[in-house]
């Protein structure tokens, strides 16, 4: 479920790449990304609206594979 203001979309290839998932979890200051036991991506839904729009997650993955959406812009 998206947040009220922010949603984050991650391509399947990135979400299943343990290396990249670890990186995402590291860069996000408000803990929106976590790794499941098997190393795949868990989006922490209750933290989505804490997103500070720093773009660090976007820079951490291949171009276009992580998208941060402002739901209040549509």
């Amino acid at each position: 479920m998206p947040g009220m203001f922010i949603d984050v979309e991650v391509d399947a290839g990135v979400a299943s790449n343990a290396e990249l998932v670890k990186k995402l979890a590291e860069v996000c200051a408000v803990d929106i990304f976590a790794a499941k036991d098997d190393g795949t991506l868990q989006i922490v839904e209750e933290n989505l609206d804490e997103c500070v729009l720093c773009d660090l997650c976007i820079q951490a993955a291949p171009a276009g594979t992580v998208r941060v959406k402002k739901l209040y812009e549509r």
Binding site: M4, F5, V30, D49, E50, V52, L53, K70, Y72, E73
Partner: protein, 401 residues
């Protein structure tokens, strides 16, 4: 943070300052037993933080243990300046020859601690300062040189005290200076400091106040005295609503959304920061608004902290609308606060457009913030609308209700 008299005396005793015998009583039986153990006449004193207990009749004298027990029951229920007594102190009544006054406090202008000493104790010292200035000395002392008895000697000597009185007073004043610095006090006062008929000096009543910032450094002492972290010792005890506000702030360490003070109006306030809150609270009151609360947000609080504060304020009975206002912000983010208040309204089952009277926070990330507010139909304004005008708009909306 103020100490009760009995706590102050426990600290005086630790520093070897001379005191009469005393005991705290929690029942008439204990009062009787205390008087019995002390032997002879006693003073029965209500333990309150505010001054004026003498005037309120909450200090009485007893000749016998039975009388002490009776006075206990008289004194305990007396409300002094809106404050009920915590307990009652039974103290030996001593034959007094003369009363002195001594206090150590900070002089914010000189930025130094200062000893005030007078040989006219027992009465209001401000009165002495006005009517008998030559009987009150002010002696500043250094905080980087080793503490010295010289300062005490000069403070006492300056009002003309000499001989054995001077020499007996010096260690008491010196120890008070020590106590002041050791416990990070903002006030250490003995009034009266009594000279007994036999020439000895004892502390009759004392008043200590510890700096709130330093409480963490003196945890051991506070624990010994049984003073818990939740005892704020402000002018009045915190309300349930205020305690809930403190819990909201304690949930995470990102920024501040706290210092909630309860009032009984219908306009909930989410305001900040320190100076901005004071400014806005005045502006609301000046324009006929009735605040339901005071608070301070700042330091870039998390979305959820703002959300929970919003929910708390909306849950307060009698709150019709909230106003969200700050000075121009540079650290706190407009968009994060906007998200927090809107989410808080919705989770409280209210329509943000209805319940938020005005949102006036200009500054960092305001473009994003204003987009969010516009989407939810909330009335907002930028820095071209002053804090005073924004508060006025909120007040007008409530009046139109």
């Amino acid at each position: 943070m103020r100490f009760y008299e009995y706590e102050s005396k426990a600290l005086f005793a630790r520093h070897g300052m001379p005191l009469g015998q005393s005991r705290v009583a929690g029942s008439p039986e204990e009062a009787r037993a205390a008087a019995q153990a002390i032997g002879g006449p006693t003073v029965i004193k209500s333990q309150v933080l505010s001054g004026g207990r003498m005037k309120a009749g909450a200090v009485l004298f007893a000749d016998t243990p039975d009388e002490a027990a009776k006075h206990y029951e008289t004194v305990l229920p007396i409300v002094v300046n809106g404050e009920t007594a915590r307990s009652v102190l039974i103290e030996e009544k001593s034959p007094i020859a003369q009363e002195y006054f001594v206090s150590v406090t900070w002089d914010g202008r000189r930025k130094l601690p200062v000893v005030l000493f007078s040989d006219m104790g027992g009465i209001d010292i401000e009165e002495v300062a006005e009517t008998h200035p030559e009987h009150l000395s002010r002696t500043h002392f250094s905080t980087i040189l080793p503490l010295s008895e010289r300062v005490a000697k000069e403070a006492i000597g300056a009002v003309g005290v000499t001989g054995s009185d001077l020499n007996r007073l010096v260690p008491i004043v010196y120890k008070l200076m020590q106590l002041f610095l050791d416990y990070d006090l903002t006030l250490a006062e003995i009034n009266p400091l009594a000279k007994l008929e036999d020439g000895r000096f004892i502390v009759l009543d004392g008043h200590l106040d510890m700096e709130a910032e330093a409480r963490g450094d003196h945890k051991a002492v506070l624990d010994d005295l049984g003073i818990g972290d939740d005892e704020t010792r402000q002018a009045r005890p915190p309300t349930e609503f205020e305690l809930a506000g403190a819990r909201v702030n304690a949930v995470d360490h990102r920024g501040v959304a706290g210092n909630v003070v309860e009032f009984d109006g219908n306009l909930g306030l989410i305001i900040g920061a320190g100076g901005g809150s004071l400014t806005l609270f005045d502006a609301v009151r000046k324009q006929g608004g009735k605040p339901a609360n005071y608070c301070e947000i700042g330091g870039n609080p998390s979305m959820s902290k703002v959300k929970n504060l919003t929910k708390l304020i909306l849950s307060k009975p009698g709150v019709d609308k909230i106003a969200v206002m700050m000075n121009v912000v540079s650290n706190t983010r407009v968009d994060i606060v906007a998200r927090g208040v809107i989410k808080g309204c919705i989770e409280a089952g209210k329509d943000p457009a209805e319940v938020i009277a005005i949102f006036r926070i200009p500054g960092a990330w305001e473009d994003e913030g204003f987009k969010i507010l516009a989407k939810h139909g909330v009335e907002y304004c930028d820095r071209s609308v002053s804090m005073y005008e924004a508060a006025g708009r909120a007040c007008a909306k409530l009046e139109a209700n």
